[in-house]
Subunit: 352 residues, 2 copies
């Protein structure tokens, strides 16, 4: 690892000498947030229309509100119980658009391939991406392929970006939660993270755990149809439910109080987390969303969610409060109260 | 390198057993074309609005024609004479939008970082991306950061995607060249490729060769202002001038005849190519464009190009003909005629 020629480029932000990127910076937790806040955002030196804490930017293009998002995927292994890197990438980008209220209008697909991948595997993953896009009612409209030598990348990295139109009247944002709002969750948490851990760490469970990767755009459309005034949508991916809620609480300067008993955690997820010493609220999900909705429409939104397979396990998990702004707490199963903190450092590298 | 579980995924296209991705598949030449034609396009199994041979897709979003494109960058080294991977990525995406006639409205920036990169280097490259965007009148509006372990990636890979509005009345496409049209080139070729080779192969030249990476959106706006009916624009990146023109000739089912004497090749590029046994027409450029324009407006377009620094070396290099459809030929310096073929295999891996 050589250092970049300091004559050619310089970093405009004071950074401790010798500080290096660690796996924890990719975790979606506190270190990821610090990297964005202390290095990336100041180096970009500009107001970002979408803001670093929304899942997508929204641009006005000729009077049309267009959501635009990107994600790179480095999950290992590239095929895992319940999905693969290409399907995960397509669903992830569709979901980032959906969290801004947009239906996908087209996706890009860019591969960085390690020399030696079989064409059959590349073809199979490409077809998986196309199927995932079609399942969500969209398609891959542009792409790119790069190849690097053996050892310069690990099999395959995938980037997907996407665009979609935000319907008139919909205005979602991590800064819009207000005391009195209700927090909804679309179903059981922790399945993607535990599925990846099970293959990576060789864990065996009584029932097979499969990733929950799935597109959420239809669920979001159904929710907005009954309540266009939903405040915040967020898919709790890297960093899990805890990071997603903490980011919303911090951006909106509100507190949140969860009810641990209400949060659905599959037995296998709970068991794996106990074995590995993890908090299920920190485990990544790839097909779930949390919503902050006005209290008076919460039941209608819940009913709309439960009417679709991707929302059949939807529940109310807590409320937004004026107390302790920027902090998320939970009523525990034994009746006490605890702080729900963001993940610190790295739980499992390359989970998405 | 393990093979993907065949039970989980299958490739819908017949592929020779054991065929693997090689560095040549990333060259932008014939092998890249074959990969797209024989594997990626059939596996995507759908009509692509932009088509695999345009630089960007054009989508109708609420009545606005939006160009949308993506590229991943794996150039090594990440800082090179005349530029760096982040600036290259930003310019590359701006140029892909420009080749569809669009001004950039917003870019995404996604990093795959090898654990251990210094935060100072990461900050410097991020700032370089922001500067490049600002120089072209746009900004980074959304992004993503992933970290992989040491040895799982080589320092840093960058993906940029972008969106931009295609002005009403502009309709550019690789299928629109017609016999009688004139072929223009915005300036000297080969500088990016030779700059990368010079650092990678340790070549010394009398004068330092710097990459030509630069944004072309203002040049394109000036060209379209004098002739909205320009037929094709293409930036001859990987695979060089030869690949760009061959793709246009093939897609439009026309022939092309170039005049070798008219194509500006800097002495250092010619010298490096002679030393390394390369055809300068195959060497990558990152700040040049070729244009296919109606004959009667060619002089006006040339004048508009020459009025800007990024087009000051613009020249007429040939014409579109009805003969030998799909083939590009050149009148050589000694008066004979030769076939200008696409690059076969790999010239230099990781040039962009």
């Amino acid at each position: 690892m050589t250092t970049i020629d300091p004559l050619a480029l310089s970093c405009p932000v004071p950074i401790p000498e010798g500080a290096r990127v660690t796996l924890g910076h990719g975790s979606g937790g506190q270190l990821s947030g610090a990297l964005m806040r202390d290095v990336l955002a100041p180096c970009l030196a500009q107001a970002s229309p979408g803001g670093p804490l929304n899942d997508a930017a929204v641009l006005d293009l000729g009077g049309t509100q267009v959501a635009f998002t990107t994600d790179s995927f480095v999950v290992s292994p590239v095929v895992f119980p319940g999905g693969d890197i290409a399907e995960l990438a397509v669903n992830g980008t569709i979901n980032d658009l959906a969290m801004m209220g947009a239906q996908p209008a087209g996706l890009s697909l860019a591969f960085v391939i390690e020399e030696g991948l079989t064409l059959e595997d590349l073809g199979a993953l490409t077809a998986s991406a196309a199927r995932a896009a079609a399942k969500a009612g969209t398609s891959i409209v542009t792409g790119d392929t790069k190849v690097v030598g053996r050892g310069a990348a690990d099999q395959l990295f995938v980037n997907t970006a996407g665009v979609g139109v935000v319907p008139a009247g919909v205005q979602l944002g991590a800064d819009r939660a207000r005391p009195g709002d209700v927090i909804l969750l679309s179903g059981p948490i922790g399945l993607h993270g535990v599925a990846i851990m099970s293959v990576r760490e060789g864990l065996e469970f009584e029932a097979e755990i499969a990733s929950d990767t799935q597109p959420l755009n239809r669920l979001v459309a159904a929710m907005l149809a009954v309540e266009p005034g939903i405040k915040v949508l967020r898919d709790p991916t890297r960093g899990g439910l805890a990071s997603a809620l903490n980011e919303i609480a911090e951006t909106s300067r509100v507190g949140m109080v969860l009810d641990d008993a209400a949060v659905p955690i599959p037995d296998a997820v709970r068991g794996a987390c106990e074995m590995l010493g993890l908090d299920p609220y920190h485990v990544a999900n790839e097909g779930k969303l949390v919503a902050v909705v006005p209290a008076d429409s919460a039941d209608r939104v819940l009913d709309a969610m439960r009417a679709l397979p991707e929302g059949e396990g939807a529940v109310r998990i807590g409320a937004v409060v004026a107390d302790h702004p920027g902090m998320v707490t939970a009523k525990t199963l034994v009746g006490s109260e605890r702080i729900v903190d963001m993940l610190v450092g790295e739980q499992l590298p390359r989970i998405c």
